[in-house]
Symmetry: C2
């Protein structure tokens, strides 16, 4: 199966400008998601807020893409995927993660605060959320910071101990590479300097034949 990347000739300067605007809205929607989980205001007020949320949604839908945001690129080499579930700057489901790639492109790092929206066991990061973030970090690192396409082949996660909600860090590195198959190791854990990883991940990523 091939994937449809969208050639979008918006100049990079304009892409950056628009991204800042929609990222601002998405940040505010993230706060609304958190407040929706934690609010204890009375039923009538919840219903009143709901009606206002619906009205705002209609205003945004006055002009919209026919489907998902997709992954876009222009001739200047800028690519963007604002709708991505982990790193998408316009997607309030995404924390969003900002991944730092090291110079050689084979290691990466990220730090993010995970709040009430990412809960699984009480007070803890959902185990599947750890898997979600690790998959993105590992995929991006396997793809050498999006300079090639690498799809997840297998992903193995070892859960060492629960990870409290709050500040977390991810570390990732490519450990092996041959014939379009890339092995990646990664961890997620607390940010405290003496913290041991809560989850260890190993992944095999594949550069699709059509993209080699």
């Amino acid at each position: 199966m091939s994937l449809s990347f969208i050639h979008d000739e918006t100049p990079t300067e304009e892409v950056d400008r628009r991204e800042a605007v929609v990222a601002g809205l998405a940040d505010s929607v993230r706060a609304l998601v958190d407040a929706t989980i934690r609010t204890t205001v009375d039923d009538d007020e919840v219903r009143a807020v709901q009606a206002e949320v619906a009205a705002l949604t209609e205003r945004l839908r006055a002009a919209q893409l026919p489907g998902p945001a997709g992954v876009r690129y222009n001739s200047e080499g800028r690519s963007w995927s604002w709708g991505n579930a982990v790193v998408g700057s316009s997607n309030a489901v995404a924390p969003p993660l900002e991944i730092q790639h090291a110079g050689d492109g084979r290691t990466s790092y990220a730090e993010v605060v995970l709040g009430a929206a990412y809960e699984g066991p009480p007070g803890m990061v959902h185990g599947g959320v750890s898997a979600l973030l690790l998959d993105q970090v590992m995929g991006e690192t396997a793809s050498a910071n999006n300079s090639r396409i690498a799809m997840t082949g297998t992903l193995t996660l070892r859960y060492r101990h629960p990870l409290p909600l709050g500040s977390v860090r991810l570390d990732c590195q490519v450990t092996k590479e041959a014939d379009g198959k890339i092995t990646v190791q990664a961890t997620i854990g607390e940010t405290a300097p003496d913290a041991t990883p809560a989850v260890e991940a190993s992944g095999l990523f594949v550069v699709p034949r059509w993209a080699r």
Copy 2:
């Protein structure tokens, strides 16, 4: 590490009533999340909507829980985790998944529509989102529909082919159980009758020593 489940003596009838109210708000926030990703209205309108979203957030924060929602239970045997990242009815990050458990508690099934907020590769479900949903379904099935505590030990995911955004189904079963260790198999794929699984998962879940 022990986990803090909250004993909350709200009567089941009142829990059900309040859940319907907050779930209604969360549904509207999900639509707003989608519209935020897909909107193409002009910058001024995006900023105007953002200001209104912030005002609504303040209204909800007039009274709120000090932290995440946690997992609650009452003496009638009702438990609820409205903030859960996959199944939480008040959490707009969650699709939310409604998991159907078979009579024996060892098999389960779920069907859900995944929209623009769950995108990874263009037009496709994020590989990490598949992992997130699978982890929840497998954990719940290992815990026999939440009648015991089962934490993820290891999770192995095999990605067979990309999964388009849209209607997806998950199938899960416990295949082995001994000494507090539970092996679970699960798949996620398209809902078409002839569809082959996009992702196959195998998980080892553990009943913590303190909970046996």
